[in-house]
Symmetry: C2
Subunit: 298 residues, 2 copies
């Protein structure tokens, strides 16, 4: 049980955390701050936060748990602004989708306050951001990844684990490096590909006509191309090296498939697609994949 939650960034992620913490009975009092005063005011009016603070520092004052839910590019400046109020009894977490950059920023900004900081990435979200979509159930049943550093206090990691578990999330721990490699592969690259693909269709001379003919496959394949521009700018910039490495792998696989096509090797193309189709058919979200053990050919 915490005395006071300070939320910096009262959007979908921060607002949902505030609602979930209250609903779980883990905190009674929530102080919130957003860069935009109208957002902070909306959060207060909707009952997502109890008190609107005029600065990030004021949201931290008196709080024993602090959630940083700002664009990752704002992490370092925000941490510097609140640094001197992060005592050893404060649990400080973020919710950023990239972790190496956040950890680097924390190392630079926090100094001897680093032990209180537990970098976190909840695998949760909605198509539509904003505090008006904040939802006490957002983290229920979802995975939250913690990427603690050698300097993070064991007690802080344990408290962070307990908090997320109490909100109904499954907690995994991994290194920032492994986290960023994994999410470059399963999230960041697909966004980049969806952006590029949609643009490539839309920008051609007959693009409008083509788009009017597109069906459900296209709809699902491009859904993530509607992602928030500021969020995805930050994520792609922050995880550039891993994203580009994954893109190289993807291009090699695409080259190989196109090679079979160009060589008119229908049998090899079908065999390759069958392996992929079977593996994708077996994959389920949140479960260990069964790659490499294809089902018998139909």
């Amino acid at each position: 049980m915490f005395k006071q939650l300070g939320v910096i960034g009262c959007g979908l992620m921060g607002g949902s955390f505030a609602l979930a913490m209250k609903k779980a009975g883990l905190v009674k009092h929530v102080v919130g701050y957003s860069k935009s005063p109208s957002t902070t005011e909306t959060a207060r009016r909707l009952g997502v936060i109890d008190v609107a603070a005029d600065s990030a520092l004021l949201a931290v004052s008196g709080s024993d748990i602090v959630l940083l839910a700002v664009p990752v590019s704002a992490t370092e400046a925000t941490l510097k602004a609140i640094r001197h109020l992060i005592g050893p009894q404060v649990l400080l977490m973020d919710v950023g989708s990239t972790k190496c950059d956040v950890v680097d920023a924390a190392r630079r900004a926090l100094g001897d306050r680093l032990p209180s900081f537990v970098p976190a990435h909840p695998i949760a979200g909605k198509e539509t951001g904003g505090v008006q979509h904040a939802d006490a159930g957002l983290y229920q049943g979802r995975t939250v990844i913690l990427t603690p550093l050698a300097g993070t206090s064991a007690q802080a990691v344990q408290r962070a684990t307990d908090v997320w578990a109490n909100l109904g999330a499954q907690v995994l721990k991994m290194s920032p490096k492994n986290h960023d490699a994994a999410f470059a592969a399963v999230s960041h690259l697909p966004h980049l590909l969806a952006f590029a693909f949609f643009q490539s269709v839309a920008a051609q001379p007959a693009g409008r006509d083509f788009l009017s003919l597109a069906g459900p496959g296209f709809r699902d394949f491009t859904r993530i191309a509607a992602g928030d521009p500021a969020v995805w700018r930050d994520i792609l910039m922050a995880n550039k090296a891993e994203v580009l490495a994954q893109s190289q792998r993807f291009r090699q696989t695409l080259d190989a498939l196109e090679g079979l096509l160009k060589a008119d090797d229908a049998a090899a193309l079908e065999a390759r697609i069958r392996l992929i189709s079977d593996a994708r058919g077996q994959w389920q979200m949140g479960q260990m994949g069964q790659i490499g053990t294809p089902r018998p050919a139909k």
Copy 2:
């Protein structure tokens, strides 16, 4: 109103057409043939067809409307096998996802019977194929594209248009070439990309772990990677040139986005993503796109 429908290929598409034609009161008697005798028998047992024929030719015998619903690679051989029973009063259609190859096959196979053939592509389907999923409502509210040739009889085109309209579909006419370019862009290339992307993630050393972390964005982006291997082998092979041309366009767009990333040009990257995100946000399936008229920046 037709006397008898002959269905060659009693799978999802052919079976659904038979059920829809009966339900609409457009035909009383359906004769069906599939390469696999057990499929034909299942279609008969389920009431999708009335009589199981032992050959494609026998399914055509006595029919005044014939639907070819076989893999596109089997089109030419099938047309040759039924050719001499395709009289001027017979309406012959296919349901293939590619049209240039089908039209070429028809030109080679049908000779003076060509006027009866109206190439058709209903934009409809289900995740799961097979006659057991045949559905009288499959074509209701969907688009059906007809790609008639100069040699196709105007009467046959009119009858085909009336048939699909009576099944509740919206009928569009375009040239085989335009059809194949459009579907390379909005359907065939995304399938190829989804196959390549899924394989690229799954095949790396940590692929299993990565897949276990993937969320809803990944799920939707890769849904079409579970497509039927034989169907997609045929489509990609048949429309190879257009698919490779679309892939080139896609790679250029991807190169441009990655160029911004490599140049650390965050502002330009965000601006580009905003145009894409806005355009995708405005796109709706089955409606004219609004590309090029982005919403004001948020």
